[in-house]
Symmetry: C2
Subunit: 215 residues, 2 copies
DNA sequence: CTGCGGGCTGAACGACTGTACAGCAACAAG
DNA sequence: CTTGTTGCTGTACAGTCGTTCAGCCCGCAG
């Protein structure tokens, strides 16, 4: 009567990675409400108690899942930019193409993101995770906008405010794409972002400058 | 022993309005999770059973609360535009000032909005409510952008796509303001939106036109 | 005053939530 | 082969959840 092992041990690190993956799967399936301790453990094939063993609570696990997914997205966008090296304008275009790639526009992925956003005000740990990832996101945009300003000899250009603007545009498009896919196509999404940069270059940048008209 | 009436009757219409108000209060206080049947009925000072009596279920009540709040916001924005009659550009500015007024930037109001967004994918009734209100929102923007295009003699201008863009920008700013107030000031929010229109006028509109360069 | 329609109550139900904890068992070390 | 560590199990607990329904009782009609 040699019965199979009832469970297999794992390095805490590996197990945590497994749990995070299961959490993301659950979030994608049924949103924040569908990501209960029991469903996550079932998805991961472990017992309910294991989560409390590795994390202080559910919020911490979800927050780590949020960090994991944002890190993955940011890496993808950074890579897309680096492959299109020539100049800042080209790199922005690469960023847009990456933002509206099939991988990132996956409805399930956006559903998970919506769940995170909905929980930001509820769970402190998720709030901190958002602060961190959004800060990093904006820093990436700030950098490339700064480079664009240098290449085009804009002075006193407020890249920080422009980055807030562009990230808001991207998030807004992403949000609507998640809430109501079909409102616009990925190509139109890219088009909208390109138009924003066009507008900046054509003269819209003036509002992002100091009093001097040298910008 | 003349004891006080244990409850007071109301016209279904009035009672429903009361319940919707209580629902909004709960959503503002603790997000979607904090808006349970029991908490809503406690807030409204009625019994738990009354909600099922007037609505088919919780989702329908929340959806009606969503419709109520979007209707209120849209009326406010429309009024702001109508008071600044002169031209389309001025009306857009009025729309922006309204969008970033203290009344609409109320953190609690945005928390409630976030709760709605998070529930769109979960509840069918809320999904329909979003579709309706977002369509109306975009129609308002489309109309004023159309008028701007006429006043400036733009031909083949795709006001629809431009409206999607502007609504995404506004929603994105609103979203971030809710998730992390302090990222930008209301004045900066207006500045960002004005810069978008500036960019459109300066030449960014080309991407929103057909092949002809007459736009 | 009486009668009655229906707005309203509130206990009960079954399902689900996150967390705690006592102890089992897998697996490396000796 | 033991033995020890500790990753892991799974029941139990104390809640909360949305919904149901038999019947109470408010307030208007007559």
């Amino acid at each position: 009567m040699n019965q199979e092992a009832r469970f297999s041990r794992m390095e805490p690190e590996l197990r945590k990675a497994n749990l995070i993956e299961a959490t993301l799967t659950c979030l994608k399936r049924h949103g924040f409400q569908g990501a209960s301790i029991r469903k996550i453990s079932a998805e991961a094939g472990v017992s309910v108690g294991l989560i409390s063993h590795h994390y202080s609570g559910k919020d911490e696990l979800v927050a780590e899942a949020y960090m994991a997914i944002t890190g993955r997205v940011m890496t993808l966008l950074r890579d897309a930019m680096e492959q299109a090296a020539p100049n800042a304008r080209e790199r922005l275009s690469a960023f847009f193409r990456g933002s509206f790639s099939a991988e990132l526009l996956d409805p399930q992925l956006i559903d998970a993101w919506l769940a995170f956003w909905g929980a930001v005000k509820t769970a402190e740990a998720i709030n901190k995770a958002h602060d961190h990832s959004y800060g990093e996101y904006r820093a990436i945009l700030r950098k490339v906008l700064m480079e664009l300003a240098q290449e085009e000899d804009w002075e006193n250009f407020d890249a920080d405010l422009a980055a807030i603007s562009l990230s808001a545009l991207l998030d807004g498009l992403w949000l609507e794409s998640g809430l109501n896919p079909g409102t616009f196509t990925p190509e139109q999404g890219i088009q909208i972002c390109e138009a924003w940069v066009d507008g900046l270059q054509a003269g819209g940048r003036q509002r992002f400058c100091g009093q001097t008209s040298s910008c």
